[in-house]
Amino acid sequence: MKAAKFDYARPRDLAEATKLLAQGNGAAKALAGGQSLGPMLNLRLARPGLLVDISRLEELKAVSDGGDHWRIGAGVTHSRLEDAAGRMPGAEMICLVAAGIAYRSVRNRGTIGGSLAHADPAADWPLALAALGATVEIAGPKGKRRVAAQALMSGAFTTALDDAELIAGVTVPKLSAKARWGYYKFCIKPGEFPEASAAVVFDSARNAARVFIGALDGPPVALSGIAVAVAASGALPGAAEIDAAVARAAPSLDAVDRRLHAAVLSRALQQAVAP
């Protein structure tokens, strides 16, 4: 399968990229690592008139230590974050999540910003960054704005980005030494999108209790009741309690999927509360 015809531009900087996207009037599409867009182009499901290749923009590739947070450029690949394990204190969960995305040859090209902008409901970053309380930095013709990671995605493959906007980077608060977290996903085959996923973060130093489940119909959903309960007790809730919370959070799941999501959430919580 070969992609349909498109035009191609490689802007020199972010400003030129957003300008090209604005001029495209909806027919232009940003290309980052291309690991999701590439297959869609080859299958001819996506037929943009113009691809704006942002994969070489150096200004999107920085990872910097902001003291109480890490700032990760949108163009940073999953494999760079995977290989940063042990060198990004407070971002241990980020490195672990990155290492579990697809396959190494995909991680070498796919980017954190691309994954967020693509907004696949089953993808790792929308879930993990929501649980971490990250902030997404968006660049557009009118300048930059910031959106909470959990508010970026409004539905399957749909985000708060408009046609001329790009994700510039994400800011992730550092986990304190007291923080406990868990991340679990169930995939039929390693590297595929999960059937169910969950991310939990408890950081008493930041008073943060964040429990999210993913791989749903739409964006990841927060389970605040479970979060507050586990923060207070430090213990795994009962199976019935987890099941009921999942049912409330995602009422359209059938019985099998609900059990699957409940089991996956239970395992993520177990990682966080385990001694």
Partner: protein, 384 residues
């Protein structure tokens, strides 16, 4: 055509390429480097794995034009590579190939494992190989070949120290006043049911319009008005019960425009109706047939409860995406948008309030939902 200059196996190459030409086609057709094999051509099978800038990547989903200025290394470029020489020997000794189709990609993935993970065990090797499919060997020979090279290279090297287990702090209980919560779309719109029946997908939804049933019923007869409430819909021509028109669908990078016709039946006594239609999208070559049944009922406060049952079937490339949770999510948001727009049309005073009732749906995003279950599962696509 775009002019590119890149380095392939140490050799400078200049060429004019179509932007849509992927790197594997460029290597095979322009440079005659046919060692790079094409299997699935959508980034799943790993047969086309090569190195871009020194790191393994899939050449079927990289475009040649995007590799301008980069260094490419294909299987032909490893003749003098020491690790690859050992892997070739080991693949031969361990019967790690049969038909050989996956082998170039396997070798490049294997070399990456040897270089990156000197202590990889059986389980890790299998995990790392998950992105390269082999239909002959059952992987045993490939795993053994990589293990053999790793073991040979470890000889004479002091055994690696086992990783120190991470010391983790005990869970400190705390009273959280900062628990993340999200506005649940499900709280605003009742749960949908979705049941596939003989190739047809069915879903049920309902919504409330803040006007009495008689008024909503009259409004439903006004086809241009109804169409204007449906994001992406355009009427070309219509009479009382027949319409020709188009429905634009935009979901992330996927865009389709279905052109077709629909007929309506209206039962005024029961305040219920049926819309049957069919259409096709020239771009993706997909065809669809669908049926919408709706019924109006009295809701508390004299408002109108609209119950909708949607049945549809889809053929062609987009069909890979039907019967889906994603479709359900989209249909739900589309109906939410429709209901909000209808409310605003019937009562301009509600225009402000109804926008907020769309659960954050970007009004500019035109949504219609014939999209896949899980892209990866049905297409076997890897995740990015």
């Amino acid at each position: 055509m775009k002019q590119i200059a890149l380095t392939v196996n140490g050799r400078k190459v200049e060429a004019a390429v179509e932007p849509r030409t992927h790197l594997a086609d460029f290597l095979r057709e322009h440079l005659r480097l046919t060692g790079t094999h094409l299997g699935c051509e959508h980034g799943v099978c790993g047969a086309c794995t090569i190195e871009i800038g020194g790191a393994p990547a899939r050449s079927c989903i990289a475009f040649a034009v995007g590799c301008d200025g980069l260094e490419i290394r294909t299987i032909e470029g490893f003749d003098d590579d020491a690790v690859m020489a050992e892997l070739r020997e080991a693949f031969s000794a361990e019967h790690a190939l049969q038909c050989g189709y996956c082998t170039p990609g396997m070798l490049i993935a294997a070399r990456d494992i040897v270089a990156r993970l000197p202590d990889a065990d059986d389980k890790r090797i299998r995990l790392e190989l998950a992105g390269n499919l082999c239909r002959c060997t059952g992987y045993l020979g490939i795993v053994n070949a990589i293990k053999r090279v790793l073991a040979d290279r470890r000889k004479g090297v002091a055994a690696a120290k086992p990783a120190t287990p991470l010391v983790s702090m005990p869970f400190v209980s705390f009273k959280s006043t900062n628990a993340a919560s999200s506005a649940l779309a499900a709280a605003a719109v009742p749960a949908a049911m979705e049941t596939p029946k003989g190739g047809w997908t069915e879903m049920a939804e309902s919504f409330t319009v803040h006007k009495p049933p008689a008024e909503v019923w009259r409004a439903f007869a006004d086809l241009p008005m109804v169409a204007s409430c449906l994001p992406g819909a355009e009427l070309d021509e219509h009479d009382a019960l027949n319409v020709n028109g188009r429905m634009r669908v935009k979901l992330g990078p996927i865009a389709a425009s279905f052109a077709g016709a629909a007929t309506m039946e209206r039962d005024g006594a029961g305040m219920r109706g049926t819309i049957k239609g069919a259409g096709s999208d020239g771009g993706t070559g997909s065809r669809t047939r669908g049926e919408v049944e709706y019924a109006l009922g009295l809701a508390p406060g004299g408002e109108t409860r609209v119950s909708v049952t949607i049945r549809y079937s889809l053929q062609g490339p987009l069909a890979q995406f039907s019967r889906s949770g994603v479709a359900r999510d989209l249909a739900r948001r589309l109906i939410g948008q429709f209901a909000a727009n209808l409310d605003a049309k019937l009562d301009p005073a509600r225009a402000g309030a109804s926008v907020g009732a769309t659960q954050g749906l970007d009004v500019g995003a035109l949504i219609w939902a014939w999209i896949r279950e899980k892209f990866a599962r049905l297409l076997g696509r890897p995740q990015s």
